[in-house]
Symmetry: C2
Subunit: 272 residues, 2 copies
């Protein structure tokens, strides 16, 4: 790192979409040199998950980076990142124990370990993550603070399709019919947010409104729907300030996650 050169960093698993492009553009505005990493990190996939079939359209990804003025496109091999004898693991037991961490037991250890490594290699001043992976962004924020990594974590709003579906590299797994049904997840989160905005504070009432929307679409099954504190990700029995509505569903063999942040009616009033 040269003094005065502010490195911005967007870590990705490739298969870049409009959500990544938004991160790259937001980074561009905030740094002198911009690094994008493309690394499908095996350590954050479970044994039954989609590591092998995860999309890897590397030429398109490089073209997008070139077009967006990325200075360095960092594409390490698995062997370079995890050579023989590699063993160090970074864990955040409190943030990782619920929601995605419960469904995907070693996922967040894989994320925290690779992010620590990438920060060590790239030495960025700021790193940008998408809000779509809300729990991941909370984890990375806590990780950077706890380990004094000296990296400012910036979380950018989720970019959505016209019907509200959050952009994700995994959306290509959806059949045309399932693609239409996939918008149900965002509709469910919106229904919960609407209930909060109308002044309801009881967490279980909000959650029920979310559940009801998913239940109307029999092809979509709930992994979890939750009303949580945005920092600790603990469930809220009462929404008095900010809440994050978290959702994960399965449609056929595809798993989708999404979230929205919402302020309680009384919290919004206090700002007016």
């Amino acid at each position: 790192m040269r003094e005065g050169v502010r490195i911005g960093f967007v870590p990705t698993m490739g298969a870049l979409h409009e959500g990544h492009r938004a991160l790259i553009r937001a980074a561009r505005l905030r740094c002198d040199a911009l690094v994008v990493s493309i690394f499908v990190n095996p350590k954050q996939f479970g044994p039954q998950e989609d590591l092998v079939k995860y999309p890897r359209p590397i030429s398109q990804d490089r073209a997008l980076c070139r077009k967006e003025g990325v200075d360095v496109c960092f594409e390490p091999t698995v062997e370079a990142m995890y050579p023989s004898g590699f063993q160090t693991m970074v864990t955040l037991p409190m943030i990782a124990r619920r929601w995605e961490g419960e469904v995907r037991p070693h996922h967040f250890t894989g994320v925290a370990t690779v992010v620590t490594k990438l920060f060590g290699i790239v030495r960025p001043r700021i790193a940008l993550f998408g809000q779509k992976d809300f729990q991941q962004s909370a984890l990375v924020r806590q990780l950077a603070k706890d380990l004094n990594l000296g990296v400012e974590i910036v979380v950018c709003p989720t970019v959505r399709e016209a019907d509200g579906l959050a952009m994700s590299s995994r959306n290509i797994y959806l059949s045309p019919d399932d693609r239409i049904r996939a918008a149900t997840l965002y509709k469910s989160l919106q229904a919960g947010a609407e209930v909060i905005r109308r002044g309801v504070t009881d967490g279980e009432t909000v959650r029920s409104a979310m559940v009801r929307v998913i239940k109307n679409e029999p092809a979509v099954t709930i992994d979890y729907l939750a009303v949580c504190d945005p920092t600790t990700l603990d469930p809220l029995s009462s929404v008095t300030r900010q809440a994050v509505l978290l959702g994960a569903v399965r449609i056929g063999a595809t798993r989708l996650i999404d979230n929205i942040l919402v302020s309680a009616k009384q919290a919004r009033r206090s700002f007016e």
Copy 2:
């Protein structure tokens, strides 16, 4: 970190002795700016261990640092290092599972976590550790490599008292009688090394020679004595190249560790 300014770092728990002084002087020769940290890290002590009574002669420590030309003496508080909400842990399951890690279950997670944090804060180019804590130095070396911390780890030879006892902040716990008996540990390691130098390769034969020396001193009890590979710390059934002889004993309420590195007779010949 300024480009061209090479920061050297000696992390300590204070109670500085001649071993630390040797690390500081070795660092001085290899860097432009020298940082010593003094932090009695609670996370590397077990609940039954000596955290509270660990010596903290801070004025003497500062005087030694001043005399040795240390540029920054970094003395963080426990609250600054582990604020409310802190949760990240760094673990090295393979190196940490044996020897000290077996006797002190969370010790090396505490060490790996605090070293990662201190490297993040200090951003050194090189960091120096004493060979006395051999397993710790192997762990830190692997940690720095695995997490791409960009720090060169330098391990300096153990500094010893006239009778061979390795310098340690914990030696002050020894009664005068136990202080005399404490040299038995080094004598035991030397006996093992001598057997190897005479051409014996069988690990168990070497270990027996070490055990015999300790058994001659009834006030000293063995925690472990082992003949190991210096990188993996796995026990060696046959010493054909390098070995580290590791020992931990108890004398009264005090626990002492020590080690020596030794080359097999045939390995030494190949250098001649």
